[in-house]
Homo-oligomer: 229 residues x 2
DNA sequence: ATTAATATTTAACCGGGGTTAAATATTAAT
DNA sequence: ATTAATATTTAACCCCGGTTAAATATTAAT
């Protein structure tokens, strides 16, 4: 049976798989907020359903079927996040929790409706890529704002939604996908960055900057518009 | 725990309570599509949670707490139905099934959002009353279209959503809440009714007419606009 | 008032998803 | 290579929501 729990595990495995070849029991337990024992049992169950290949003591990987389901659930989740923010006025740090519950119950029709209403978007409100209905995942930026050299001109592409409080802070700083940013200065030893956002000078913590992913503007990265101090 | 199952039972009891003083095990079993044994167990559980008063062999009634929960769930359901139809373009015979799943997972915030977007409506897409946040249920029409005398002028107020196929048919006849209808003729022995809807002559089955609830237009019910044949 | 029909409850079971505690593998360290 | 630390699995248990089959109440009928 494709229960909400099964979908959640599959989604978690999908995400952990991007970091490690094989997903360990403990990593899954931590991510799902359950115990290792519960994970072991579920992995056996998922293997039974042909959603993962599982070697006891050596972790699991999604099967093609498992991956398909993961992408469907992630598509639901991210479309919902965007819809909640765009159509219903949710603040972007709250959409994740609501989408987490809705993703398991909406029909294909509902998914299609909101996708249409949103104009078949490729990225959600945080800039996370929305898999297409046939499972294609749009490319997304991987360089952090924190890693940028002083003087660089970048566009924000994505903000990690892992921590709602941080997300809120980052949003208040004006660091949202699509926003252009110039790195004006960096305090040494892990200090904050000084940025120019929308013509205004802004200071952001390095932790925040580590959770903001950007794309460099080729044209501006060499010849800067206004020289940094 | 307030699970989806608990909410569904409470909602079912609420609806059955309007027809009979006390809700029997078998009536609930039929409505929830389960067995009498499952119902007995759940009734004990609900009594434990103080959501019903339950006398073995003599049925159950909602407690004040149970009624509150029932009204909350019904409010979710009907707001969702209206939202799905109005904002998302669902056909009105499909909204029930989708709302059935969503009603258990949306947050108070979600509820408030769609209520606001819909302009704090009092009736859903079928004309069913939406309980207010403090549990007030708007009054609704109880006379059926079928029961109306020839020559009567009425306004459709509500259409039973019990049968999706029938609902679809009724909708195609143009019998939607707010529509004005004049009863032109009635075939004897349970035959169909001839109506004037929107200036057009329409014939509807008696079964359909029994599922349409109307309000008589006081002004027109005596002096008719155009005489029936 | 007794019997028959019907409704309801109880008992034993199952699957899903979780827990803790104990047993067992694996990995790291000496 | 053996030991110690750590990760994983197994076992026994819990709750939830359902099932079927048997036992028991209630209601209807004679």
């Amino acid at each position: 049976m494709r229960t909400a729990a099964v979908e959640d595990y599959v989604k978690s495995i999908y995400k952990l798989q991007t970091e490690t070849e094989t997903v360990s029991t403990s990593a899954l337990a931590e991510r799902t907020g359950t115990t290792a024992a519960a994970v072991t049992k579920m992995l056996k169950h998922l293997a039974q359903l042909n959603l993962v290949s599982y070697t006891p003591y050596h972790g699991a990987r999604l099967s093609p079927m498992g991956e398909t389901i993961a992408l469907e659930v992630i598509r639901h989740h991210r479309l919902l996040e965007l819809y909640l923010a765009q159509a219903m006025g949710y603040p972007w740090e709250e959409v994740d929790a609501e989408a987490e519950k809705l993703e398991h119950v909406i029909s294909e029709e509902f998914e299609e409706s909101i996708a249409r209403l949103l104009g078949f978007p490729e990225f959600d409100i945080h800039g996370d890529p929305i898999p297409s209905r046939d499972g294609q995942m749009p490319k997304t930026a991987t360089e952090t704002l924190e890693a940028q050299a002083v003087g660089t001109q970048v566009v924000v592409r994505r903000v990690s939604d892992a921590d709602a409080a941080l997300l809120r802070y980052v949003g208040e700083c004006g660091l949202k996908p699509g926003v252009e940013v110039q790195i004006l200065a960096r305090e040494p030893f892990g200090g904050s960055l000084t940025l120019e956002i929308d013509g205004l000078e802004r200071r952001v913590s390095p932790q925040a900057a580590q959770n903001v992913f950007v794309e460099r503007c080729a044209a501006q990265s060499l010849g800067m518009k206004s020289a940094p101090q």
